[in-house]
């Protein structure tokens, strides 16, 4: 897959150089030969489109189809620019590396709120143009200088109704209480959500979670260490729950909905005190499509129809307050920003995570190792 991307780049760059006269015809043909591309496929016209398309860097799977339908289609209809995908997962280190290397191949990254703050501070991102992107269509507190909270997802937990059907756990305090609710637990292994859940379980009120008292959280997490497993991917979290490896497991709320449906409610999700994370769209500095084009793309992502389609397709909750009231009945229990959940969840503070996340992750890894 890497090789393909490289060869595509090679052919595309070659075509641009050929068109602008920097590369002679023979060398261009040779490049195409090298890349194994028929020259017809990379006519100079196509190469022009390299700057005339939006490349979205996301996490693959369903999201390619969902982002394509929900944002790509209306965006292309309006602007004529096609939407393409790089599905290799825009982790902070990868974005930094891409910008530092000067070879920026993505226009917009489906990242986390704290990435927007951290990478914005270090100068790796384009600032958001709020003349194009409408601040009114973003949930309060999620319109940052270098990124936009376009959707919300959450760290909730699920329990096995066979184990605790009569007296179900109601929040993180129960999750961490292995005396009252015996059995194994699973938590996210890179600390997000896990730190907050431990603090709430330890009695910190929701509005006092940030700034996080990491040592206190670590103590709480260590108290159930012998009874816990840790997952790194959604599918792993899913497996641990449905295979019965744990009786309670932390889960991304959209994945939790899938599990509830597929198991006919055998495993139930608790949204109370879930940690709501803003999913941010950020733009690597020097993005190929230019700032204006990508801002229009982000603007489209915030429109109510697009937001509701993403909710339906991916289970990610809208950020646009206008869409809150339009969340369908069936999705209400699973959506972070629905009327029944919005006051129960804890909203992540991306600024705290951007400044302290590295230390928190390392402290957490040490505690569970």
């Amino acid at each position: 897959m890497k090789d393909n991307a490289f060869l595509n780049d090679l052919a595309r760059e070659g075509a641009i150089a050929f068109k602008s006269g920097r590369l002679d015809r023979r060398s261009f043909l040779m490049l195409c030969g090298l890349a194994g591309v028929a020259t017809l496929a990379v006519k100079a016209g196509d190469a022009e489109a390299a700057a005339n398309e939006i490349v979205m860097w996301n996490w693959g799977g369903e999201s390619e189809k969902c982002h394509g339908d929900a944002i790509g289609k209306p965006f292309t209809a309006k602007t004529g620019l096609p939407l393409k995908f790089d599905t290799s997962g825009p982790l902070q280190g990868k974005i930094k590396e891409m910008v530092d290397s000067g070879k920026v191949t993505a226009d917009v990254c489906d990242a986390d709120g704290f990435d927007a703050i951290a990478l914005g501070k270090s100068g790796h991102l384009e600032a958001i143009d709020y003349n194009i992107v409408n601040k009114q269509q973003i949930k309060e507190g999620s319109a940052w200088e270098f990124g936009v909270g376009v959707i919300f997802y959450g760290y909730a937990f699920m329990y096995d109704t066979k184990a605790f059907g009569d007296n179900p756990p109601k929040g993180w305090a129960d999750f961490y209480d292995t005396a009252k609710f015996p059995g194994k637990r699973s938590l996210y292994k890179w600390a997000n959500g896990s730190i907050e859940s431990a603090l709430v379980a330890d009695g910190v009120t929701k509005d006092k979670v940030y700034p996080c008292d990491v040592p206190r959280a670590i103590e709480k997490i260590k108290s159930i260490k012998a009874d816990s497993l840790y997952w790194g991917s959604g599918s792993e979290a899913h497996d641990m729950i449905v295979n019965g490896e744990v009786v309670m497991g932390m889960i991304w709320q959209n994945r939790g909905k899938t599990i509830e449906e597929r198991t006919n409610g055998r495993y139930k999700m608790v949204m109370n005190e879930a940690i709501a994370m803003p999913g941010a769209y950020i733009v690597p500095r020097g993005n190929p499509a230019g700032r204006d084009n990508v801002m229009k793309f982000i603007e489209q992502a915030l429109q109510v129809e697009s937001q509701l389609m993403i909710l339906d397709c991916l289970g990610m909750t809208p950020s646009n307050p206008e869409a809150f009231a339009k969340i369908p009945e069936a999705m209400q229990p699973y959506a972070v920003n629905s009327a029944q959940n919005i006051d129960k969840v804890i909203f992540n503070d991306p600024v705290w995570w951007a400044d302290n996340g590295g230390d928190a992750v390392n402290a957490f890894l040490e505690a569970i190792g």
């Binding site: 295979n243 590295g358 992750v361 390392n362 890894l365 569970i368």
Partner: protein
């Protein structure tokens, strides 16, 4: 003598393109990355001081070395038994054993890890069987812990142990054992006093190969360890991608490369590396 060896050897010209290629495309980028360990986040040896200051890093290194040593011991011991059996098997059986070995060698580490989960996991074949037979009342915790990681690592490393051991054993003249027996040694004596010492180069080669390869384990501990068994490779990736502390990542990478080179150097003092890795010695 001196004048002859100092004269330029034209054969170097034939090797030069390959050497230059390796230097430019392999050594230079690696050095570039390793330099990060003394330049990021600020110039100095701050990253290296972490080995002594930070319990996390020290624990990590110790855990990695410990798991690799156990894996090496287990894989070489089991590998020795298998190689010995292969050496004495009929040629048809040996060929079949060899193909099974090679097939398992070619299966991806990811597939093998998930296979172990299916066999020995919480709902795995073994636990299901023992539960339904009534032997146990609770599933045995064989996976998602250090034990599970060791099983996965040892199994993955078996071919790396068997192949050098077998090559070494096949190079031993079988008449030596017969001679030992004809001179009155029992079969146990023949094995422990004659055969085993002769296979020492094979054991060392296999141990070295397994230990060095184990240092880089990433997928197996991540899947079978239940998140609790972090080894250096996974930690490096977290520092690169999540916490974006490239200096720490580069420091650990430097440490790993340096210890591998040191291991090979020490070994080379005792025996010719080329001989161990099947060079032109014989």
């Amino acid at each position: 003598m001196t004048s002859r060896s100092s004269r330029f050897n034209p054969y170097w010209l034939l090797v030069a393109p390959a050497v230059l290629l390796v230097l430019a495309l392999y050594v230079a980028p690696i050095v570039n990355v390793l330099l990060l360990s003394v330049t990021d986040p600020k110039p100095g040896l701050g990253n290296y001081a972490k080995i002594f200051e930070s319990d996390t890093v020290a624990n990590l290194i110790w855990r990695t070395v410990r798991l690799c040593l156990i894996t090496t011991f287990a894989a070489v011991f089991l590998g020795y038994v298998v190689s010995y059996a292969m050496l004495h098997a009929l040629s048809g059986v040996r060929r079949r054993m060899m193909s099974i070995l090679l097939i398992s060698f070619w299966i991806s580490v990811l597939v093998r890890s998930f296979a172990w989960l299916m066999l020995l996991g919480h709902n795995g074949l073994l636990n299901d069987m023992l539960l339904s037979l009534g032997v146990i009342s609770e599933p045995l915790p064989l996976m998602r812990n250090e034990f599970g990681v060791l099983i996965g690592m040892t199994e993955y490393m078996l071919p790396y142990a068997i192949l050098p051991l077998l090559a070494n054993m096949q190079g031993i003249d079988p008449r030596i054992a017969s001679a030992s027996r004809s001179l009155g040694a029992s079969s146990a004596q023949t094995f422990f006093h004659v055969f085993l010492p002769l296979t020492r180069p094979g054991i060392i080669a296999a141990s070295l190969l397994v230990f060095i390869s184990s240092l880089g384990f990433y997928v197996t501990p991540a899947i079978l360890g239940g998140g609790k068994v972090q080894m250096i490779a996974e930690y490096i990736s977290v520092q690169l991608l999540v916490t974006v502390r490239w200096g720490v990542a580069a420091m650990l990478a430097t440490l790993m490369i340096a210890s591998v080179l040191a291991l090979m150097y020490v070994l080379n003092r005792f025996m010719k590396l080329s001989e161990i890795f099947g060079g032109a010695a014989r």
